[in-house]
Symmetry: C3
Subunit: 207 residues, 3 copies
């Protein structure tokens, strides 16, 4: 089980790195920009969570994250340079798997450090979405997660399922799996049927 | 006294959350964006201060902050959806009260952790203004506090009064109150008489 | 030797503060904006490194950094107000000296905290470039280091030389000097002959 977890983790890291690479490519950044955006997207959320929890930042002592990031960035650049289209659905589905893993693992880590269920869900969601938010800020974009897609809400939903099952005294491992599956199912449904959440704000003031 | 402090704290949190909600609404963000901007504006400055001081981040163990943030965000959305105008002065005055509290409490916390008076004033000001700065960056705006209003300077002034009084061996509680009142008075004067500080820079290069 | 180091450090801080001041001036910010941008550019990268390493942030207990920052900011403002042009080359060369120092010292600090050579180079580069990245984000610009200039890559090169020499069992001090000189030489060459690294991305999509 733990072994699968590590592979899911690296899959999530790689997919997040690929979205960072694509963002850098769209903005015509140089090789350093590509590496920074890939890295920040992949580990930004987890780093922020670890700093706030005051626990050692995980990539300080594990280089396998960077192997996944660099591999993903290089493959993505090679791919787009050949003008091959990345099948958007494949990327979104892989992203959903990575997201499910990140969020539930982040929630678990926060609980391990004594956070309340509510704060743990918040930190888990932060693990999943803050990397992408920093990516968008560095690209001078308003973060994508604020624009109405059912993305961050699926993180909160998955975290809620997990924490709630723990409170019903379900064992840790099945509760984690259930949380991941709940998150993944809602996210895949959102991709498949283009589910959205309402956008607030006055009309015509969008910049 | 301590009890009043907690209520001022929650008032400040709520007002900052309301300004974050208004910013998200102006940018037509979704419900998640509203919650993130409200939260970041309210607790971003204090979180940054705590991380730099390497002291436990306060909201990790106190959910009452989030109750204040969510209540403020929901009330603000209800209010603006009814196309009611928020009396700008009321919001500014409440913001000034919250700011006075945040800055002096932040300065105090830094002093408690052994910072020099100078660094403490800087971290106190950071507590007061960095939440709004992150809000503006996420909205793709140049931070409001850089644009000439007498806002951040009132934080520095209040912190200076407080630290100076401590050096004159005034007791902690009256010194804190005096710092808050000094900050509040200068800020209210700035609102009332539209006091500004000079803006630098070459003409015509503003973007 | 150590004494020289401190002066190089302050030189680097001052030059970085000057570039932050110039950025604030270009965006017509007020006095507070100038101070914030000067400070963030000068100490942002080192602060981020220290927070991630979970080691005390250096400026919490050393005011001499702020003396250097304020002096540099005031001199820069006086200079540009007199419409004197800053000799661009002089600023770039001083920046290169400061950069060489920051990056190698940052790499060293990470090694001291048990980071692997790879992670240490990354944190050293972060010390050198993240201050400027935060400056650009606060100015609503895409960070300059992503735009093709040979800047960040020189940091990675210098860090690599340093770490590699340490592995060949060269003593710490000569290895540090060699790393700094390698970084400085490459950066000066990049300035002199306008060396660039390739920029990725599809044409016409630059915003």
């Amino acid at each position: 089980m733990e072994l699968y977890f590590h592979w899911f983790d690296l899959l999530g890291i790689a997919v997040f790195a690929a979205t960072g690479t694509l963002a850098a490519w769209r903005k015509q950044m140089d090789g350093f920009g590509v590496i920074v955006l890939a890295t920040v997207t992949a580990i930004g959320g987890g780093t922020l969570r670890d700093v706030i929890l005051d626990t050692p930042v995980i990539w300080l002592s594990d280089n396998s994250y960077f192997v996944a990031i660099f591999t993903a960035a290089v493959l993505t650049i090679l791919w787009v340079r050949k003008r091959l289209l990345i099948p958007n659905n494949a990327l979104q589905i892989a992203d959903a798997v990575g997201l499910a893993f990140f969020v539930i693992m982040g929630t678990q880590k926060a609980l391990d450090h004594g956070a309340s269920g509510f704060v743990a869900i918040m930190l888990g969601t932060m693990s999943g979405v803050c990397g992408g938010m920093i990516r968008d800020v560095l690209c001078r974009e308003i973060p994508l997660v604020f624009r109405g897609e059912l993305y961050a809400m699926t993180c909160i939903f998955g975290g809620l399922v997990y924490v709630q099952l723990l409170e019903f005294e379900v064992a840790k491992m099945p509760a984690m799996l259930a949380g991941m599956i709940a998150l993944l199912a809602l996210r895949l449904a959102a991709i498949r049927w283009h589910l959205t959440i309402p956008v607030f704000g006055k009309k015509g003031d969008l910049r």
